[in-house]
Amino acid sequence: MLSAQECAALAGVGFRQVSEVIGGVGIAVAPRGFFWTGSSRPNYPAGWQGGPDDGAPPIYTSSTSGSRVPARIMAMRSGLRTASARLVEEARAVGADGVINVRMDQTTSVAAAGASIWSFLATGTAVRSIGRTRASTPFTSALSANQTALALRCGWAPVSYLACPVMAARWVESASRQQERLSSGNGEVVAYAETVNVCRRQAGADFAAASRAVGADGAVLTEMTLELGPAKDLAEVSVLATGTALIRFDDHEMPAPLPVIPMDGDRR
């Protein structure tokens, strides 16, 4: 629902609100970790616990592991994709050119046999141009009405809402496990810190790749959430990066939103 002010902001850039739209899907997910790739046994790669002497165990990510994509990531990707696609379908059905304010809610409930059920619900506000040009495919965007208006005034249009899930895992050797003990003093838990850094960077890279794939010129990140797995001997990390891909269109004579004093005195 948009406020009167937000409706006015949208009208100022040639869009009006059509309706609230949603896209939802529920998926049953087997309760498995990183190395479960769909079959009934885990798929451990050779040497995943590191060398016998002192070699640090390797870090695996779902984006670089080739055919070894965790079943959980497959479920996540398909859930996000389906919910977004249904949102766009609903927007198309009401004659919209785009959806703003897109939010993705994921809820987890536990089914009888210990398997979890993930529900993905994408919600947003469908908008339509007051002009004659129709979008061939409605755009989606996490930006608010005000942010959308501001971006359009400065020559940037939203292209697509992006959600990139990444998982990473690393065996926690005994040296690292020691750092987690209650009795140890201040210090970084290396196994987790390394895995989290790798996973977050990968999510950033995937986010950029996803923006490129939709033909964007830039992308703004909304958030990058982190979840750590429950296992003590395996540092298992899930990151979800969400944001909006933007495209540049031709410059036209529109003033900047706010005057800024350039930090370089020679400019202007």
Binding site: G12, V13, G14, D97, S129, G131, T133, R134, A135, S136, T137, Q147, L150, R153, C154, W156, A157, V159, Q179, E180, L182, G185, N186, G187, E188, V189, Y192, A193, V196, N197, R200, R201, G204, F207, A208, R212, V214, G215, A216, D217, G218, A219, V220, L221, M224, L226, G243, I247, F249, D250, H252, E253, A256, P257, L258, V260, M263, D264, D266, R267
Partner: protein, 156 residues
């Protein structure tokens, strides 16, 4: 198309969008950022261009703190942990920006979150947008700090 006509903007934007959907995507320059749209636009206005999203994280174990129940005191272990973990996260972010050849990092957000599975573990994460100045500062120096690393700012 006149700028005074509100439908003009949506027209231009949708035409461009349709074009891009039809065309084949080449290897164009692209940036990602954690800035809000207004911040992003203001960065351009101030003479900087965003290079990309940079981040650094530290998972930190906060040690046991002995304390007296009947006195006010600083929790020095906790204080020291905050300083150290923040330093680790910020340094990693700066190193990533340095690799990109950035002059600075703007819109830096530092988040601290104690993880529920063990309440002595916290994640310190710093996320920002690496930027490069279109030109150097008027003083003829560089935008970088005295350690020759990119400057950091929580503002744009």
């Amino acid at each position: 198309v006149s700028a005074a006509d509100p439908s003009a903007l949506s027209e231009i934007a949708l035409r461009r969008l349709n074009e891009s959907r039809d065309s084949d995507v080449g290897g164009r320059a692209l940036f990602t950022s954690d800035l809000s749209v207004n911040e992003f636009l203001l960065v351009r206005e101030a003479g900087f261009r965003p290079l990309g999203l940079v981040l650094g994280s530290s998972i930190y174990h906060v040690g046991l703190q002995t304390r007296r129940w009947n006195a006010n005191q600083e929790l020095t272990t906790l204080s020291q942990a905050m300083y150290h973990a923040r330093e680790l996260a910020m340094t990693r972010m700066a190193a990533e920006a340095n690799d990109l050849g950035a002059d600075g990092i703007v819109g830096v957000r530092l988040q601290i979150e104690f993880k529920e599975f063990g309440h002595h573990l916290a994640e310190f994460v710093a996320i920002g947008t690496a930027v490069k100045g279109d030109t150097g500062p008027v003083t003829g120096e560089t935008w970088r700090n005295n350690k020759n690393m990119p400057f950091t700012s929580d503002r744009m």
